[in-house]
């Protein structure tokens, strides 16, 4: 199993702050996906990154895929309470996706 390590595990910040969460592995992935999960619901895809060094932006969220395709980061600018949730990265590993354990983000007003 190709492991994906996410950090930090928990993050509590105030509205307006910036933050970065990380997804690291010793394995190379052909692609990497980021999902957000809200309490009581299933994860929902935010973005897929495919090319090493790729940067994708989704409003205030910026996703980057490492040059070697072993790691990825998610940066949120001016966080809002609506950003609260569990952020999961998932790497394509053979027959299915492998998920990291997630970063639980709480944004307070």
């Amino acid at each position: 199993t190709q492991l994906l390590e996410q950090s930090p595990q928990f993050l509590s910040i105030q509205e307006g702050e910036n933050l970065t969460v990380y997804c690291n592995s010793s394995s190379v992935f052909s692609s990497l996906q980021w999902y957000r999960q809200e309490p009581g619901e299933g994860p929902v895809l935010l973005v897929t990154v495919v090319t090493g060094g790729e940067v994708k932006k989704l409003k205030r969220l910026t996703f980057q895929f490492g040059d070697a395709r072993k790691d990825s980061s998610l940066h949120i600018t001016a966080a809002q309470p609506g950003d609260t949730g569990l952020y999961l990265c998932a790497g394509a590993a053979g027959y299915a996706l492998n998920f990291g354990k997630g970063t639980s983000l709480l944004v307070t007003p």
Partner: protein, 112 residues
């Protein structure tokens, strides 16, 4: 409504009982998956299916059985439930094995 639905949403059962969690999707996606989500372990793949009548084991298949007689349905059965199977179970579908996953809302199972 289009989408992926799981039932039941909540289930309490006793050790040794058989439990079946249902999953139905309306997109005609080829691939379907069952994951369990536990604190400290994240999402772990139990079983997946590439098409009707084609299923295969994931990372944690022991104690579970699946079937897929129709493309749209992918039930998960715990033949003799154990306390360690207390978890939240998510069904998902996709057009390919490592493509975007569309998840159901989850089934929270408690085994007493």
């Amino acid at each position: 409504d289009a989408g992926i639905t799981q039932s039941p949403r909540y289930k309490i059962t006793e050790t040794g009982r058989q439990v079946t969690l249902m999953c139905h999707q309306t997109w005609s996606h080829s691939y379907m998956f069952w994951y369990r989500q536990d604190l400290g372990h994240g999402l772990r793949l139990i079983y997946y299916s590439a098409a009707a009548d084609i299923t295969d084991k994931g990372e944690v298949p022991d104690g579970y059985v699946v079937s897929r007689s129709k493309t749209e349905n992918f039930p998960l059965t715990l033949e003799s439930a154990t306390r360690s199977q207390t978890s939240v179970y998510f069904c998902a579908s996709s057009v390919r094995n490592t493509g975007e996953l569309f998840f159901g809302e989850g089934s929270r199972l408690t085994v007493l």
